[in-house]
């Protein structure tokens, strides 16, 4: 039991080191040796916990994805009106998202670059959008979203979040410094619009 705990910690340390190294230099420009040095272990040790360099990346990707699997969020907020839903949902995720910045920076470029990973993400996205579409459709009928097309709305709002994550990763000053103001800003923009009285 102890050994297992210890082993889990090692694995997590390697992943943390890898996310730092990958985020800084990019997956391909990083060497297994650099990750090992960052983790304070020998090269070969990594292979006791991961099958390959790519497997380390996939583990990081999995870690990232696991966070999105929280259907509880939706259920809990099912009865709230749309604006409250968006407000609460965004606030909850927001710190989470930022705390994952490094892992995201480590993983996302390679996901974009690798056809297989790209396709895997596309498939995940398709599932997530299907769920969101159903939810929005339900809400759409019962009001609160105006006459907006819920299908496009889901793409646009998630694209906004994705884009802000990228600006954050790129180091854009304002997004970095005022990250915490964004949920409120977004909710206001989306629901009130710019031409509100």
């Amino acid at each position: 039991m102890r050994g297992e705990e210890q082993s889990d910690r090692r694995r997590a340390e390697i992943l943390a080191a890898a996310s730092r190294v990958f985020a800084e230099r990019g997956y391909h420009r990083s060497t297994v040796r650099q990750v090992a040095r960052e983790a304070g272990i020998a090269d070969g040790t990594i292979y006791l916990y991961f099958r390959s360099k790519q497997d380390v990346l996939l583990a990081l990707l999995g870690e990232l994805g696991r966070l999105n699997d929280r259907p509880a969020d939706f259920a809990e907020l099912a009865t709230a009106d749309a604006r409250t839903f968006a407000d609460v949902y965004l606030r909850r995720r927001w710190r989470d998202i930022r705390s994952r910045r490094e892992v995201f920076a480590a993983v996302f470029p390679e996901v974009l670059a690798d056809p297989a990973l790209r396709e895997a993400l596309r498939a995940r996205l398709a599932l997530a959008y299907a769920a969101a579409d159903a939810e929005l459709e339900r809400r759409g009928r019962s009001g609160g979203l105006g006459s907006s097309d819920p299908v496009l709305l889901a793409r646009v709002t998630s694209a906004t979040v994705l884009g802000l994550m990228l600006l954050d990763v790129l180091g854009e000053g304002v997004v970095r410094e005022r990250w915490d103001e964004l949920p409120v800003f977004l909710t206001s923009l989306w629901f009130d619009g710019l031409q509100r009285r």
Copy 2:
């Protein structure tokens, strides 16, 4: 003159081939040989037109950036109200953006991954945002944007566009198929909001 023209065409062919190969497989997983094959030339020939593989990427990046340098757009629309500006501006760029999808897919992942390129893009962004901030500030005073923070607004709107480009690159079905509807949708969302009326 003829030689120069011919040379320019070769260079462009290589870039086109590179953008196809890089977009499909990612920059690092692509080999110079694959680009050469795609361009229908020998490996070594690429080095008559580019100093290195990285230089090819930089050329693609430059091509992408050059398109954004159109201050004319702003000048021409300087007197329009905010909504018209956004409407016209988005419509104009929209097809352009999509036509650059391949180059974007080829270049962007590596820009995210390479510290030097990331920093270069950050610097470019900073300049662009400075210009946009000034413009929005001017407009903000004269009305049309409500009480919204123009600095955050610039980041959020550009982030949305960036995010939509990525969904497009990832192959998200709705964004792919309904790309042309997005400018109108965005303008409506941003200016009217969901709870309009």
Copy 3:
């Protein structure tokens, strides 16, 4: 055409170098770099002519096997009596076998050690023995081989040749020095026996 000729020569040079290095140090203890140095080329060049280190070994194996594919030998001697057949056949092969000593030494240990190669050789042997069995059966009926079991005879005689090749490879002094006397000795032993007259 010139290029092809040149290419074939390079390939042959690499194989020759590999057979020297493998024969001396064994396949696994030899490095690709050592083969390259022996051939006077760079490490990577080997991979322009062979897919892998193992592929080099397989090419050597193929070279060895090709020499046994001489059905002409049999046809030509079909009408000779058994002793003449053995006499002529052994003499013909004998120098050939010795000239292949190095390739044999390079390849055979690994064939024995690798399950896949071992099985491949077994299958080749099975075919060769089937042919030999048929031939011996034919001769057996028409006399000249006494009452000996032709099936066992084929295994024993070929085993003897194989064993002598191994003693040669091992550097056994007498076999090395008196190699050329062996065909006559073998024919005499096999046909006359020790207790003759």
Copy 4:
């Protein structure tokens, strides 16, 4: 005493496991871990009984060689005639040889491949042949071997046995199935020849 006995058993178990693994996959393709798994112990434990992987191989080799050191065989049969000697000697060894098939298959390829082991075997062979040559010389004078060259005879007969062992290891069907018939066949072939009345 008990501890020592226990220790010897462990050592023997490891050797048995190693011979199975080496025979199946070859010495170099086998890992210390595979041997340990086969023996049902931990990797490190092997190093309590052997200095190195190579040391395990040498121990197997020694085990193989020890069996040949039976001068008693010769002494006991000193007064028998040549044919009886060969007959009894072969019969005695034959089952022994086959029971060692696995160890032989494990060890022999690497002996062929490793220059040091090859030379060691050559030296052992030289000693064995010196003894055999003396014996045959003695017999040769006193008759029973015809006029055959006893020096070549020793090499040829031992080569035949070696070759048959290899065919057995390779899995040649007839040798495998009719192994027990070979001593009689060999004696008959060697002493009577094929053209016997």
